[in-house]
Every structure is written in structure tokens, then in C-alpha cells.
């Protein structure tokens, strides 16, 4: 069964600190995504990747970096965390190039920046 696993599931970070959110998928999908979920904004795309070594900017990339060291792993990095980055972050994976493809999500990481 498709599986996208995020770690940690909850994180409290200090303003100005570095935060790394990790995602692992066992679907062998080329594409992976990072979204943040906020009330009134829905799911917004931060970064995505077409495969190992590639990262692309999504709709709201400012303040975030991404890393795709392998097919299975995709990380989201907040170099200098700010309170405005308090949110729930979702990782997802999907097949390449098909508009109708289902995207599989992890259970989310709740990040609080204090």
C-alpha cells in the first residue's frame, strides 16, 4: 500500500532556529511535494521535486528550502524559522506527468515556532 511517512509529527522551534522536516515515501514515485495547511488558505505548495537531485519552487517558497537526496526522501528546511511559519506541513508523492494521477499524502507535521 502507498505510504508517505513524515517526521517529526510535532515540532516546537525557536524563532531564528533551523528546522528540518523529513519525508519518506515507499511508492517509488518520482514526484514529491511539500504543502502547508492554514485555515482560510487551504493547502499551498511550497516546493516540489521531479526526482532525486531536483527541487522546484512552488507557490510560496520564500523562507523555505528543499532537498531531495534520493527517490525516497524529500526534506523541507527552514533556515531561520519565524512565527509566521507556524503551520501544519504535508508531504505528498505522485506519479510523473499524468494530470489525473492521485497524490498520496503523509499525516502531516505540526510545527509551532515560538
Amino acid at each position: 500500500e502507498a505510504a508517505v511517512t513524515q517526521s517529526p509529527r510535532n515540532k516546537v522551534a525557536v524563532t531564528g532556529g533551523k528546522v528540518t522536516l523529513s519525508c519518506n515515501q515507499t511508492n517509488n514515485h518520482n514526484n514529491m511535494y511539500w504543502y502547508r495547511q492554514d485555515t482560510g488558505h487551504g493547502l499551498r505548495l511550497i516546493h516540489y521535486s521531479y526526482g532525486a537531485g531536483s527541487t522546484e519552487k512552488g507557490d510560496i517558497p520564500d523562507g523555505y528550502k528543499a532537498s531531495r537526496p534520493s527517490q525516497e526522501n524529500f526534506s523541507l528546511i527552514l533556515e531561520l524559522a519565524t512565527p509566521s511559519q507556524t503551520s501544519v506541513y504535508f508531504c505528498a508523492s505522485g506519479e510523473t506527468g499524468l494530470a489525473n494521477t492521485e497524490v498520496f499524502f503523509g499525516k502531516g507535521t505540526r510545527l509551532t515556532v515560538v
Binding site: Y33, H41, G42, G94, E95, N100, T101, V103
Partner: protein, 112 residues
């Protein structure tokens, strides 16, 4: 760019009443796919419905939706709401390259 509009942030219903969650979209891509994802608290969002065929009804798990390209709409409906339908529902659009654009989401609360 592409956009998806869900006009209701919150829909509250009594069990047994019909459900209709609105979704309209904008895209220049003629073969765009529309999706409904459902997100239960503390779970992963998952795919409920998808379609790219104009005027064809798509059904799954008691829900249905029909893509109307003339009005750029893909409303989610169910004939009779159940308590277990309470969740956050997202309408989403894909024009290709597997990049989804989501609406702001609609919380459906069903009460006894």
C-alpha cells in the same frame, strides 16, 4: 495562473439532509483534471473523486460530482449526509505535470 474557489468555509448540516459543496475553477488548460480530496482530523488527506470528462457524473463512496466546463464547476454532492462525513473537503485542479492547485477547503460538520 490556475485557481480554485470554494465559497463556503464551513457547511453545517443535520444528518440525513443533502450535501452540496461548491467548487469553481479557472484554467487555460482545456484538459484539466478536477479532484475532491477529503481530510479527516489527524489523518492524511485522500482522494475522493476525480474527473476530466465534461458533463459526466463521477461517483465514489456515496458522493458524486459532475464536471461542467461551460460553467467551470465541479460541485460535490451527496443525497443524505452521515455523521461520518464530517471532515475538511478540498477541491483541486491539475493541468498536468502532477502539480495540484487546491482551493481553501470547506469544513463539513454533520450533526444528529
Amino acid at each position: 495562473g490556475d485557481s480554485v474557489t470554494q465559497t463556503e468555509g464551513l457547511v453545517t448540516l443535520t444528518e440525513g439532509l443533502p450535501v452540496m459543496l461548491n467548487c469553481t475553477y479557472q484554467t487555460i488548460y482545456s484538459n484539466a483534471f478536477l479532484f475532491w480530496y477529503v481530510h479527516y482530523l489527524n489523518e492524511s488527506p485522500w482522494l475522493l473523486l476525480r474527473s476530466s470528462t465534461d458533463n459526466k457524473r463521477t461517483e465514489h463512496q456515496g458522493f458524486h460530482a459532475t464536471l461542467h466546463k461551460s460553467s467551470s464547476s465541479f460541485h460535490l454532492q451527496k443525497s443524505s449526509a452521515q455523521l461520518s462525513d464530517s471532515a475538511l473537503y478540498y477541491c483541486a485542479l491539475s493541468e498536468g505535470y502532477n502539480k495540484l492547485t487546491f482551493g481553501k477547503g470547506t469544513v463539513l460538520l454533520v450533526s444528529p
